[in-house]
């Protein structure tokens, strides 16, 4: 499935050399950080730590508090409670509040926020005011090389394409060598094709610069493909944090499961070692983790389209029927309404074409343990 191949690309990047001194050192720590606006809580007791050279992505739906978190790290918002520290130095708590210019935190804004009155070179040199001219010049050249924009040194921002603007924004924020780099929805202003290309490129630039980075997005594919670790946020709190593949395979909550990939839930009744569902009865050892405590009760099993296959069959033996098909080019995703009432999705090769209304039985083809949740 598409999501899996994206995770695969992460491994390819590991070959890129990094300039990190101590990969286990903690660069950024948030401890019990909350932000309230009047009666509304944007961020709720958030605790998080980021290691040196790591790329962590905060992933969540809009309004989950991820951008607010980013702005609190940058010093653009002040936490209501909790502590933010950078390299073990407190930059915000009840008594301290360091201004953005005193934190050494760089930001790449969603809109890039390039200075429209300055050219590429002047934009990149903006944060280097104190260095002498030759040093500045040299540093700008290094950064232009890093982002492959040597030929655009004298151009104004409005003469650049979206991807080029983004690379200038990246170079500008990396210029003063920030401790932490923040990326706010970095790819949302690019068209889809360019987005995939820039993801790889940005990750490579960040790794080569060896910078510790936190990115924020609502795009699960982007989060899974560029990050070292993903933190899934919901309602101002982190629901799960970990390596992208681990989070995708073992979502700890229904929310995480339905946010990543196209999730369906099969309700089933546990009886001793078996579980009876709308697509047949399985042994409970196919489930992830012990389910004994739920003996006699119903649970919901997470199945993604690539875990299931639909097989056309006679009306009498059918477990459900196809209600809709979604053509993606290389593949079809069929939506199947089961007689049990559940709705599941099945992924098929583009050559396997069924018609809506066709009676089908469903095979569970997954070769990994399935995540499950107590029925709510």
């Amino acid at each position: 499935m598409q999501d899996n191949t994206q995770i695969g690309t992460t491994a390819a990047f590991d070959a890129v050399e990094t300039a990190v001194d101590d990969p286990s050192a903690e660069v950024l720590a948030l401890d019990g950080v909350s932000k309230t606006y009047g009666p509304e809580t944007a961020v709720d007791e958030l605790t998080l730590s980021v290691r040196d050279g790591e790329l962590l992505t905060l992933l969540g739906p809009s309004g989950c508090g991820k951008t607010t978190t980013l702005r609190m790290i940058a010093g653009l918002e002040r936490p209501t409670t909790g502590t933010v520290s950078i390299r073990n130095e407190v930059v915000a708590d009840e008594t301290t509040f360091r201004k953005p210019e005193e934190r050494n935190v760089g930001i790449v804004f969603q809109s890039y926020a390039l200075f429209p009155h300055l050219n590429v070179e002047e934009n990149i040199a903006f944060g280097l005011a104190e260095a002498d001219e030759r040093e500045t010049d040299q540093r700008v050249s290094e950064l232009l090389e890093l982002v492959s924009l040597e030929r655009h040194r004298q151009k104004m921002p409005n003469q650049l394409s979206g991807g080029q603007q983004q690379r200038v924004a990246l170079a500008r924020s990396l210029a003063p060598e920030p401790e932490v780099l923040l990326l706010d929805e970095p790819f949302s202003n690019l068209d889809v094709r360019l987005r995939v290309e820039m993801r790889e490129e940005v990750r490579e630039i960040l790794k080569r610069a060896g910078v510790t980075a936190i990115s924020v997005t609502h795009d699960q594919e982007e989060a899974l493909s560029i990050s070292d670790r993903v933190a899934i946020m919901n309602d101002g709190a982190v629901e799960q944090i970990g390596d992208p593949a681990e989070v995708f395979e073992n979502p700890e909550s229904r929310f995480v499961a339905s946010f990543l990939g196209q999730a369906s839930f099969l309700s089933g009744r546990v009886t001793d070692d078996t579980i009876e569902t709308g697509i047949g009865t399985f042994e409970t050892n196919r489930l992830n983790g012990p389910v004994e405590a739920y003996n006699g009760a119903t649970v919901d099993v997470l199945v993604r389209p690539d875990d299931l296959r639909a097989i056309p069959t006679a009306e009498s033996t059918a477990e459900g029927y196809v209600t809709q098909r979604q053509y993606n080019g290389p593949s079809f995703v069929y939506r199947v309404k089961l007689h049990s009432g559940d709705v599941v999705h099945c992924l098929h090769n583009h050559s396997e074409s069924f018609k809506p209304g066709e009676p089908v039985e469903i095979d569970l083809t997954a070769d990994h343990p399935l995540a499950w949740y107590p029925t709510e």
Binding site: A74, G106, I107, S173
Partner: protein, 541 residues
């Protein structure tokens, strides 16, 4: 929408063959209008050429000319500089800080624009002049001498108070439209708030400040009423005086010098406008974080209150005071205000509005298309209206009519013509912008739904253009009502309006009599501002 699209509208509605004839006719009409609008300048040119070269040099280099030029430059420079000093901080305070009651101060900072400057000058003289309210108030305390209100200080004070809102409004617009994330970006690149303002905000709002400053400069240069009341010799006052003394040669020479300065200011302005063309305007703009004023809060509030008091409360208060109590000379003899004056004002203004709208329609249509070689003509033409001060236009039309068309001299017809030349550009502007808002897709959609080209035009185009035409008519009507110098110079004998009546009573010192017409004009100016603001909202939406 691109102007090219506009031709699709024309094609859809008229068909290709009639289109060509219509286009030819349109060009003829536009050239005719152009000639008419330029005719006053033509007279000035002919008159200047008739002067012997030696005499011309003598007039231009005379000590009076030098003094008047110096006075004008000093007045324009000080008023412009002070307007920036007052307008920019007010804009920053009301947009970017945690100033209490920001909305209130935004309104009070913009409102002095509705007080016609000659009414403001008149009110200030009556309050602070040698025999004014303040002198009366202080006399019992033994203070006999108060600083002179006349001359440069008075003219500067009054013009600054009633024109700084131009700077305030353009700076405010620039602050609201620029992308606040660039400020956050600067902060994240280790710049302090002040450094970020200087290096990021200021360069981006500078064109907005400059545009407002140039409007102030142009207004000050061409204003007749304020320097006349303050008895400060600038070009406009001198031209009016020379006109009164029938020294036409000198008046023509001074008019040329004034025109050259006005065109110079307009040239700089059009360059800034061209450079500004959406360059720094960001679509997604986040407001930069509020600046906390802290200990500066009280001085900031006092500053806002001082400006609002001087620019708004004081003049309006004085007018109301006259209205209720009666001012100096209230009961004196002399002509009292008659309803006929109001009727005169309203009828010439309505005439000017009607003619302007009719003339504006072909010009706006032409300006909205890109293919014609004449398409830039309406825009250039509008500069004539902005650049020619009323006093110059009045002078030119008096002598043009005396020489070539004696029967229109001192007729209402000529007066209306003068208003049309000056204020028609406003109608062209609003009509053009509403024409440009019509997506050719609208007409295509209507036709695909079974409407004939004509029916589509009537059902779709006309309702969309109508508000623009109406707004244009309203603006011309309202600005005509308060026009001073051309009205004084061109009106038929005995033809009194709000404006001429105010001028007459201020000249005689019967201040109290001016209360009603002056308040009417303040309300009229207020209404024209409402029209402009509503248009802006309409265009933005």
């Amino acid at each position: 929408m691109a102007t090219g699209d506009y031709d699709r509208v024309a094609e859809q509605t008229e068909g290709a063959t009639t289109e060509q004839t219509a286009s030819g006719l349109l060009s003829v009409v536009a050239v005719g209008i152009t000639f008419l609008v330029l005719s006053p300048l033509l007279w000035l040119f002919l008159r200047a050429v008739e002067i012997e070269p030696a005499r011309a040099v003598e007039l231009v280099t005379s000590s009076t000319t030098v003094t008047v030029t110096a006075n004008t430059v000093v007045l324009v420079a000080t008023v412009t500089a002070l307007s920036v000093v007052v307008g920019v901080p007010l804009a920053i305070l009301t947009v970017q800080t945690d100033l209490p009651f920001r909305r209130f101060w935004t309104v009070t900072s913009a409102l002095p624009l509705v007080v016609p400057s000659y009414i403001g000058a008149f009110a200030f003289v009556s309050a602070f002049g040698p025999r004014g309210h303040l002198a009366d108030l202080l006399a019992p305390l033994g203070i006999k001498q108060i600083p002179a209100m006349y001359g440069l200080p008075g003219a500067t004070l009054v013009l600054t108070l009633f024109t700084y809102p131009y700077v305030f409004l353009t700076t405010r617009a620039a602050l609201l439209s620029f992308d606040g994330t660039t400020v956050e970006a600067a902060r994240s690149l280790n710049q302090t708030r002040w450094q970020a303002f200087r290096r990021v905000t200021l360069p981006q709002i500078a064109p907005g400040i400059a545009a407002g400053a140039l409007l102030v400069a142009l207004y000050t240069l061409s204003d007749f009423g304020t320097p006349a009341i303050m008895q400060y010799d600038v070009f406009t006052r001198m031209i009016y005086n020379e006109f009164g003394a029938r020294r036409i040669d000198y008046a023509a020479v001074l008019s040329w010098l004034l025109l050259v300065m006005a065109v110079g200011i307009l040239a700089v302005e059009s360059r800034i406008e061209a450079g500004r063309d959406g360059a720094y305007i960001s679509r997604r703009s986040r407001r930069p974080g509020e600046i906390r004023l802290g200990r500066l809060k009280t001085p900031a509030l006092l500053f806002c209150a001082l400006v609002a008091t001087l620019g708004l409360a004081l003049p309006v208060g004085i007018l109301l005071h006259w209205l209720i109590r009666g001012g100096i000379g209230y009961s004196a003899t002399g002509q009292s205000f008659e309803l006929a004056f109001a009727w005169n004002s309203l009828s010439v203004a309505a005439g000017a509005a009607a003619v302007s709208v009719i003339v504006a329609l072909p010009l706006a249509y032409l300006a909205a298309r890109s293919d014609s070689r004449l398409s830039s003509l309406p825009d250039r033409l509008s500069y004539v209206g902005y650049a020619v001060p009323g006093v110059v236009l009045g002078l030119a039309l008096v002598y043009l009519s005396l020489r070539y068309l004696p029967f229109v001299y001192q007729s209402v017809l000529l007066l209306v013509f003068a208003y049309v030349v000056r204020f028609m550009p406003q109608a062209v502007g609003t009509t053009k912008s509403s024409l440009l808002q019509i997506d050719p897709g609208y007409i295509e959609a209507a036709r695909s739904l079974g409407y004939s080209p004509l029916a589509a035009f009537r059902k779709v185009v006309l309702p969309l253009v109508a508000p623009g035409i109406a707004a244009g008519a309203a603006l011309v009507f309202l600005t005509t009502m308060k026009e001073l110098p051309a009205t004084l110079m061109l009106r038929p004998p005995g033809f009194e309006t709000f404006v001429t009546y105010i001028w007459q009573v201020q000249d005689a010192g019967y201040y109290g009599r001016a209360a009603i017409p002056a308040l009417v004009l303040v309300v009229v100016s207020g209404l024209s501002m409402v029209v402009i603001l509503r248009r802006e909202r309409y265009n933005a939406g």
